[in-house]
Symmetry: C2
């Protein structure tokens, strides 16, 4: 077995309404059943008219570009300086929503195809029906990724090939079952195509030959299955954005306690975390003796029946009005730290008859 | 121009101390100058003895595995359930630090090569010196990535090829300068190699032919230049971990104000953000009139000369001791929200003679 990667030369410039199947079939009459076409999304977008007119320069250009970006954006993921990483309406997470200003007139921006899987299916169907060649089609684009410098080409759309090759359930020669090896082969094919497209001038289409054994495959579910939704993703927000979200969560903490008994070790870690930040003299104490706790919680107005822990807060003495306000701020510091350690809490008046200035139920 | 991707068949099992250059040269006597060898890191690790003995099953295995993972981990990036995404000592961000339990005896784990660039250079040198063939060598492994399902193979080490092909400064046919297109070609080459390795059984080495025009290149700086350090990365922490970090930052907020004048719009957004969370009756007011502000700040003990904004906080009336504590907690909510909006603040006693219970300097 061997694979070949071949450039499709001579397609030339592509304009709105151009027949991409005809351009490709004419430039590559050597196409065979089972070839995998890796088509740069830009020529798909141009043929489909996914272009926007913008001023060639100046602040008007920036404003127009920002408006186009907002329209293409489903969700902002991260920003730093001029960099905007967003999730598009397709679900792709890309800098500037994949909007491109290269290889196009200075007064135009190229948007991603509206439905790259549909674009791939349409191109595949046209080549099969009008040129009698049964290929798979990948619509590719260049994407960045966290943690690694440099970009790679990946698949935005695919027809005629499953996006993922699933090794799960296979047994290796040592008898180990393979658990998690789902390979995003269409991304590897897109990258392989880029290797030859990037080395030649103006080559928007590459052909990977030998990967499929022939035509006849279903279009398949497309590259959409490669999109991991924000809820499933451990990196759905930029680190700075998520830290801000955490600060806002601390600012708007709900009242606890939670459904699970509070972990005393977590409570102690939270108390330790704020020890250097609270006013000198403010003391928080987790009451661990069950009998003492029962007596005290009975003396706290509004003690919730579900609470499993009591933290007493003592303000520095002598207690003035500003001291109490500052002490209250310290209780909220502790509540934020408790929340960071997974412990919801509730601020209550202290047990009557003691020296504490507040109680926290956890 | 065309590329070929060829499998190297018949290498068989690799054991500690095996001569990888000899195994490859024997299995692929057809190697030519300029070929790019994509070598699965696992066979490099096995030849280099980067194996650890662990129990075959049971809780002892899990404990042993956790210890190995901790030793390979420079920094924990994200965790969810049993998933541990960490940065290795090399700088790679990978699930389980790239430790692998497949294609190895059940009583062993395979670690990543200690220095994959050095491994690539050593293999390249051995093939050149002993077998008179000048190839480039990529040491590859399978990695996940945020936002997209499925894994791809990428380069951990490389010799004889720059990791990145830099298009910056090039001018496209429309006269646009290309700004950011640095392509991680060794990752694309690694993925291309995986396409044929994954389709054949037990093929740890693939050859990409045609990408380089011949031998003689320098080893180059290796794949290390692909590592983006945490400080440079917008996704250096998992979203959940960064939110926790934000909550802890709120719990340990430093006293402001900051060096820049506070943006009144940001202050108003912060006040709005906590409006639904503070006690009924708690009111925060940004004092905007300069003259009023000057009079009031003169009446606040300890007002910092650098502060540019005054927020008055009024507690619900009538004011009892628990009310003041709760009001203090509300001031810390506001301080957290201000910090989330980039506004450092300082809690102070209120101006004398007014109805406010606290002042915040921003």
């Amino acid at each position: 077995m061997r694979l070949e990667i071949l450039p499709v030369i001579g397609i030339g410039d592509v304009a709105r309404g151009d027949d991409l199947a005809a351009l490709i079939a004419t430039a590559a009459p050597w196409l065979r059943d089972g070839d995998v076409l890796v088509v740069t999304s830009k020529v798909v977008s141009k043929a489909e008219g996914r272009l926007v007119d913008v001023p060639a320069d100046g602040p008007e250009r920036l404003t127009a570009r920002d408006e186009v970006l907002a329209a293409e954006t489903a969700r902002v993921v991260a920003t730093r300086g001029a960099t905007r990483i967003v999730q598009t309406h397709h679900g792709f997470v890309m800098a500037s929503a994949g909007i491109d200003a290269s290889n196009v007139e200075k007064t135009r921006l190229v948007l991603l195809p509206e439905d790259p899987d549909a674009s791939a299916r349409a191109l595949r169907a046209a080549l099969r029906e009008r040129y009698d060649v049964d290929v798979a089609v990948i619509v590719s684009d260049t994407m960045g990724r966290p943690w690694r410098n440099g970009l790679t080409d990946v698949a935005l759309g695919v027809a005629g090939l499953p996006a993922i090759r699933d090794h799960r359930g296979e047994i290796d020669p040592y008898g180990n079952e393979l658990h998690v090896t789902q390979m995003a082969v269409v991304d590897e094919l897109a990258g392989a195509g880029e290797l030859i497209k990037g080395k030649c001038d103006q080559v928007p289409v590459a052909v990977v030959r030998g990967y499929l054994t022939g035509g006849g495959a279903a279009d398949g579910p497309g590259a959409r299955m490669l999109v991991r939704d924000a809820e499933q993703d451990l990196f759905s927000l930029g680190t700075a954005e998520a830290k801000v979200a955490g600060m806002l969560a601390a600012a708007t903490l709900d009242d606890g306690p939670g459904p699970e008994p509070a972990d005393p070790a977590a409570v102690r870690r939270a108390i330790d975390a704020v020890a250097g930040a609270v006013a000198s003299g403010t003391v928080f104490t987790l009451v661990t003796d069950a009998e003492t706790r029962a007596v005290m919680t009975a003396a706290v107005p509004g003690w919730p029946a579900t609470a499993t822990g009591l933290i007493l807060g003592e303000a520095p003495t002598p207690v003035s009005q500003p001291d109490l306000v500052r002490f209250g701020a310290d209780t909220q510091r502790l509540r934020s730290a408790l929340a960071a350690h997974g412990v919801p809490s509730l601020l209550l008046p202290p047990p009557t008859g003691g020296t504490a200035s507040a109680a926290l139920a956890v």
